[in-house]
Symmetry: C2
Subunit: 471 residues, 2 copies
């Protein structure tokens, strides 16, 4: 519970209606897209301007009350669960597209704008903003920036980080900083812009972003290739890149995912395939045609059992549905779905998928894997039941071993979902003790009293590594 003097001050800043501490508001903001993690905040506040955010932060800093800023809370790492209570700051009222500058190819936007709405507006102006996280129909631009969201177009176009060129942010003290600008180049001091992207609300509260836009590709073509041999699919991925083709999209689904998706979406997918690749290329018409033809050749050489190239946009949408519905389809299977984010160098995808399958068998848990093959970014997804503590424990052990396997293959514990609360115990496995110490010092540099999203990224204790027993 916050002291009355503070809640009164917060109400004065945003207006009576926009600070809430009734039970409904607290419960609604006690969880996010992450299963099995809940913690009540003390209050929920909805600012409508940067100056309000600044005033709120001054008040919270004075009273040493933690704050978790969030958009829609669609993250999967417990990134916006208020694990230490305090105030949840919801950015949905700051949701305007402030400017599209066609000469400089930039957009300036408030953090609470829904990503899909932003993309729709940008595309209606004949421009292109590539980051397209699967959550984009509900997630916000601010949330995407906080987590450095990826998406299906990351291989060719990069992730959110590659498009954020300027930020306005409020520091823990309430001070306002502006970084970067409508500038393609700026090396005036440390790159605070890129440091804030992916910092998960732990360094500052983002109140405005300047995003780089690019010209849209003229054409796009979509195909599926299906394999009875997992390594054939994996070799196809590597050989496409080695052939110096960078597809816009290069996605992967394993056999368990294929079955579940087909049950759900009735697409008539062949249920005996070990892997499906979804491949898209975009660009100038001639380039697209040539690349798709060369990719088709590679798929054939690697013994794809079936190849479908979409001839119409409707056909392409149907092929895309297979991949786009993977999470939804898996989520229907059992009460609890835990989607992870282990990432490896793209040359190690098949090794990683096989290790995931081995680990799932070892712990007798059900894990389906899909993801961004071209990026080496896999989403092993466990379907389980939160009420079955014993099974959930086995799932956790399996994921621990999956993180360890990813790192052993030169990979990382998270490619695009963030560390949050859930992966904090494993961060040291990736970056080592010296790396953790540097990051903690950076956190202190921004937020000396640990008020911004405390309990995230850094764990009280690093998990001991499990011993991997092969076979």
């Amino acid at each position: 519970m916050l002291v009355t003097a503070l809640t009164e001050r917060l109400r004065r800043i945003v207006g009576e209606r926009h600070y809430r501490d009734d039970k409904e508001a607290l419960i609604a903001h006690s969880y996010d897209g992450t299963p099995m993690l809940q913690s009540l905040p003390d209050g929920v506040i909805y600012p409508e301007s940067t100056s309000q955010v600044s005033e709120i932060m001054q008040a919270l800093a004075e009273y040493r009350v933690p704050v978790v800023s969030r958009g829609s809370g669609s993250n999967l790492c417990g990134g916006t669960v208020p694990v230490q209570g305090g105030v949840v700051m919801v950015m949905h009222r700051m949701n305007r597209l402030l400017e599209v500058d066609k000469e400089n190819l930039t957009a300036t936007v408030q953090p609470g704008m829904i990503t899909a709405e932003f993309i729709a507006q940008i595309e209606s102006l004949g421009l292109f903003y590539p980051p397209d996280p699967s959550s984009m129909k509900i997630s916000t631009i601010g949330g995407n920036i906080a987590e450095c969201s990826g998406g299906l177009r990351g291989l060719k176009y990069g992730t959110t980080k590659d498009y954020v060129i300027g930020l306005e942010a409020v520091l823990a003290s309430g001070e306002i900083v502006r970084t970067g600008g409508k500038l393609m180049k700026d090396v005036a001091g440390y790159d605070l812009t890129k440091l804030l992207v992916g910092s998960e609300g732990t360094l500052a509260i983002i109140t405005e972003a300047t995003l780089k836009l690019i010209p849209p590709p003229a054409e796009k073509k979509t195909m599926l290739a299906m394999y009875k041999d997992l390594y054939g699919a994996a070799r196809t991925v590597s050989r496409i890149i080695e052939a110096k083709i960078i597809p816009a999209t290069l996605e992967f689904m394993d056999n368990p995912t294929i079955r579940v998706v087909d049950d759900f979406a009735k697409l008539g997918l062949p249920r005996d395939m070990e892997a499906i690749l979804l491949i898209e290329q975009d660009g100038a018409a001639e380039t697209v045609e040539r690349d798709i033809a060369r990719i088709r050749d590679i798929c054939e050489q690697e013994n794809a059992d079936r190849i479908e190239v979409a001839e119409t946009r409707e056909h392409a949408d149907k092929l895309l549905t297979a991949r786009r519905s993977a999470f939804t389809a898996l989520a229907r299977l059992r009460p609890t779905t835990i989607l992870e984010d282990a990432t490896v160098p793209r040359s190690r995808i098949a090794d990683m998928v096989l290790r995931i399958n081995e680990i799932a068998r070892k712990y007798e848990v059900s894990i389906a894997t899909f993801g961004h093959a071209g990026d080496g970014n896999l989403h092993p997804t466990a379907t389980t039941d939160a009420r079955d503590k014993e099974e959930v424990h086995r799932v956790e052990l399996a994921f621990e071993e999956i993180f360890e396997a990813a790192i052993a293959l030169g990979g990382t514990i998270t490619g695009e979902h963030g560390v949050g609360a859930v992966k904090a115990p494993y961060l040291e496995w990736k970056i080592g003790k010296a790396g953790i110490d540097v990051m903690k010092n950076i956190k202190l540099a921004f937020d000396p009293h640990n008020l911004l999203n405390p309990g995230k990224i850094f764990a009280k204790e690093t998990r001991k590594r499990v011993v991997i027993e092969r076979g």
Copy 2:
């Protein structure tokens, strides 16, 4: 002078020959590419491995002796001048290309490798590393990373930052950290990789880098467009981008530069032109042809007086020579050449060039401007004589006013050269007091005793802003 116990320890680490404190070595490492800035170090050390760098840093930390790591010292911001003495660490012995991974399209390289040699090796393997700073024949990859170097291909391909995906670095304590990896996506904690790029040797010493490579473009075409009207040239730049064409190169030279370059390189350039644009497009053959034709149309609509499209590689090289020789040609005019780096949103280039000309007239100094028009990154270049203190003072006042003008137009004090010692007094103009405070805290987070390249980025005092008198 360092105490004998320390110099003996340093000699034991690297071997007798690789630590020097004779006068020749000290003088040779007392300056860099920046005019009018010199300061003697106490010693010069040449490590050959990461573990040596780590041992050196442990020794220097113990004795609280500053260290300036450097490659060839070709920077233009005083970034590698040992302004507080101490040890200069020269990375030239760590100059190997450790690996090119064709499946993952990455190269792993030591910091002391010369950039042009690296690019040549990468291109001989049929791959492409785009950052091409003008200094690349002498500058090193490590120096490029420290300064986040740009180049002529930045508009389409980005700068060094966009290609560094993993680093090994030694901290001030001597601890070794590894960030990122052969990973297209990694959000495991704060992005230390991007934070170290452009940190000018003030946060850590880079000992190894993993760089992203891309497939090379199939074709390239080069053209020049010449204008009697500066605004026609500037509008051409904006209209090309608005037409959704992103050229590989889009460079600008003003009239003073044109005259000097023509004197120097005897290219037969028309000396009455106010501006020349050098434009290159690369990619698939059809795309290149189409884009160059469309760009040509735009140049004609904007009343270009002369347009030359290179039909052969030799012809293209001749056109490129005009731009590539700008600095060398200007440097021949008078004893001292000061090349600056003010950057504005690309839509403001003409305004910026006119302001530069106004400012040069006001202070009666000679400034020629060329640069990366597509990026809004201009290089106003003063030719002067360091011995004429009064004139040099006027040049400094002019540059102060140029920085202020760039910021007033939404720009920055440096686009690709870094802050170093030279622009430190102006950094606060760009990022404000709160921004400076955050950056200083980050510096302390990495380097609590201020041993890594002290006296850079942060000035003892911020310069007062000059009053801009218009007209």
